[in-house]
């Protein structure tokens, strides 16, 4: 009996603890990937986000962080818990588009704000957009469109293109073809999670391509680049930044040197916010930030800037404050388009070696003030 009472009072206290945070400040629910193969991305987003919160000096922002294990069902459970039991005001953190599709529509339908630090599926940018959903990173197609624009301006006329056979892979090839004006020497869909690319590389060798475009995020990209470098083919390679971020490059090594990739951020973008971000991130975590870290950092700063003028309890004012995007982005100029997705410059970067560290250097702007192709389909 005594034990039961004790357990009951502990449960009540936990409930009370949950409720008392409502009275002041803001509660942020972050669901991101912190374990398993894709954990590097989620950890970077989290660390970038928390760095900005710490630097703001505000102690009235409570961040609840949970690990989705890269599983949509886990993410949905966590989201339900955060919305119903924890009563968060703002949600953020999801890395993968399939998880975002499972969580974001129901979160925004329940009146929560969602700030995406990474995933930008086309469905949420076009007809499925929502006034409470803001994407601080990019629409999924953007970096691929930039790669196509770069290929065109570099004078490539016969590209061999490949991506995994899943929605983001299909979007990647569509995005590339949207801005690339040359012909295609070949187009391959690989299997998701595939690690051996010998068959595809043989086809590239047998084709008369003058360039290769690939979208193979994470470990798939590491495998492809190492095998491609070892195959002796020396056609130029273009790709989005996802296979060339700071966390991956060290595992690819020399095989990545000289490859051109497209990104909305790089550590050498010349503005005071970015310089301070790169320096403090390195000091705090003892590693160079990746584009994911910059996205987490920008997301938190956007949130902080909106909180300066409005509280999430006044949804209309808070939404207007977010839309204004009145914060210093690590990317320099940053604005939201009509569908709450970024309008920004996207750069072409080249992989270089600085001392012992592989990193990227900006070599030009691939697309200036670029929005996305789906904004026209969106109406709130």
């Amino acid at each position: 009996m005594k034990l039961k009472t004790l357990a009951l009072s502990a449960a009540l206290m936990a409930l009370a603890g949950g409720a008392s945070a409502d009275g002041h400040g803001v509660k942020v629910g972050m669901i991101t990937t912190l374990s398993g193969g894709g954990a590097g991305l989620g950890i970077d987003v989290r660390d970038g986000f928390m760095l900005a919160i710490a630097q703001s000096g505000r102690d009235d922002i409570e961040v609840i962080i949970e690990d989705d294990q890269r599983k949509p069902d886990v993410a949905v459970q966590l989201a339900d818990k955060m919305i119903q039991a924890e009563n968060v005001d703002v949600m953020t953190g999801i890395i993968w588009s399939n998880l975002a599709m499972a969580v974001v529509p129901s979160a925004t339908a329940q009146g929560k704000f969602y700030l995406s630090p990474n995933a930008g599926p086309s469905a949420l940018a076009g007809a499925g957009c929502h006034e409470n959903y803001f994407n601080v990173a990019w629409q999924n197609d953007n970096l691929h469109e930039a790669a196509g624009a770069h290929a065109t301006s570099a004078g490539y006329t016969n590209s061999f293109i490949l991506a995994p056979n899943y929605p983001a892979g299909q979007d990647a090839l569509t995005g590339y073809k949207r801005t690339y004006e040359g012909a295609l020497a070949g187009e391959i869909f690989t299997q998701l999670g595939q690690t051996d690319y010998a068959a595809e590389i043989a086809q590239i060798r047998a084709s008369d391509a003058d360039s290769v475009f690939f979208f193979l995020p994470g470990g798939m990209g590491i495998s492809f680049l190492k095998q491609y470098a070892d195959s002796g083919i020396d056609l130029p390679v273009v790709g989005p930044a996802f296979s060339f971020d700071q966390g991956i490059l060290q595992a690819v090594g020399d095989a990545a040197l000289g490859v051109v990739n497209t990104s909305q951020w790089n550590k050498d973008i010349d503005n005071p916010t970015n310089a301070a971000f790169v320096e403090t991130f390195q000091a705090e975590y003892d590693r160079l930030p990746s584009l994911y870290a910059s996205q987490g950092f920008d997301t938190a700063n956007l949130l902080i800037s909106a909180l300066e003028t409005a509280s999430p309890s006044d949804a209309d004012a808070f939404r207007a404050a977010l839309q204004a995007a009145d914060f210093d982005s690590t990317r320099g100029d940053f604005a939201f388009g009509p569908n709450h997705h970024p309008i920004q410059d996207i750069y072409a970067r080249e992989v270089i070696k600085e001392g012992d560290i592989y990193t990227n250097k900006i070599i030009g702007v691939a697309l200036e003030n670029h929005g996305d192709a789906y904004a026209g389909d969106c109406s709130f």
């Binding site: 193969g37 954990a39 690690t195 068959a199 043989a202 047998a206 590491i222 095998q227 595992a251 090594g253």
Partner: protein
């Protein structure tokens, strides 16, 4: 589609199959001799790759890295066998699956704890990198030929071990009748530990060899594990010969299917649809192969037991 391209793809399929064999050989021995379903076999593959990457990073020697991979995986295997698996021989398969699945999670998060969340670097040594020209003018990566060579050597060595040595006789006897060889005075628990360590070392070797051309990261073992299970089902459980033939069949089907099915579909479909549906069918091809083999021979190609 030239002859050269086809020959190159056959080599690719062969190389993929031979690497699968290194995984499947250990798995089939463990399942055949001990009747144990070891889902954690993929984790031993990962342990091998991480050990190789760590040692290669420290010493710069690829040979040392390979030896470290086999040693680390064998040690991990012996630990797992004596601490966990030994208690499960009498249990039914569901308990074994649960316990070894738990081991996957422990190994994955443990590795992440020690090595961090970012993939590690492990590269082909300079003397094995780059392409060489084969007779007929095919440019083929030297390292992949090296993989085929090592795999065939291991297969030959295993064949000799199983058919020509005392340990091999005990292993074969253990497959047929566990109680009987225990009654005949063979130290069965020592034999089990030995077989487990051997299987683990082969998985570790495969992890290190493949890690050099792929990415060394947490969770790298599980996709290979699934294929290795397909291989031993096709080859017949417990049969090393079956594992070899099954691996090469799966390797060739997977590689050649990925190339030729989209081409085949283009004959009667629009190119874009042919590409998507051909790729989709190609990823099913090995499972269709497995189903076909099972219909034809329900115990697998070389399986003795029903």
């Amino acid at each position: 589609m030239t002859t050269l391209l086809i020959i190159e793809q056959v080599l690719n399929g062969l190389q993929f199959g031979i690497m699968l064999f290194l995984m499947a050989a250990g798995l089939t021995l463990i399942f055949g001799v001990m009747g144990l379903i070891n889902l954690a076999h993929g984790s031993l593959y990962m342990v091998g790759a991480f050990a190789a990457a760590a040692v290669a990073g420290l010493t710069g020697s690829f040979v040392l890295a390979l030896m470290a991979a086999m040693a680390a995986a064998a040690i991990a295997g012996v630990l797992v066998e004596t601490v966990v698996i030994r208690r499960l021989y009498a249990a039914d398969h569901l308990d074994q699956v649960l316990a070894t699945f738990a081991l996957i999670l422990i190994f994955s998060e443990g590795t992440r704890w020690v090595f961090g969340s970012f993939p590690l670097f492990l590269n082909i040594p300079a003397y094995l990198s780059g392409p060489i020209t084969l007779p007929g003018g095919i440019e083929y990566p030297l390292y992949r030929l090296f993989l085929i060579g090592i795999g065939l050597l291991v297969a030959a060595g295993l064949g000799l071990l199983i058919t020509r040595t005392r340990i091999g006789i005990q292993i074969r006897a253990g497959e047929n009748d566990r109680e009987m060889i225990a009654a005949l005075g063979v130290d069965i628990s020592r034999l089990y530990t030995l077989v487990f360590a051997l299987g683990a070392a082969l998985a570790g070797l495969a992890g290190a060899l493949v890690g050099a051309i792929q990415s060394v990261q947490v969770g790298m073992g599980e996709p290979v594990l699934i294929l290795a299970f397909v291989v031993i089902v096709i080859g017949g459980i417990g049969s090393i010969k079956g594992a070899l033939i099954g691996s090469i069949l799966v390797g060739l089907t997977d590689t050649l299917g990925g190339i030729f099915l989209p081409q085949l579909f283009k004959l009667f479909m629009e190119p874009a649809t042919a590409q998507t549906s051909g790729s989709a069918l190609a990823s099913m091809a090995i499972y269709i192969l497995m189903a076909a083999v099972l219909i034809w021979r329900p115990t697998g190609l070389f399986g003795a037991r029903a």
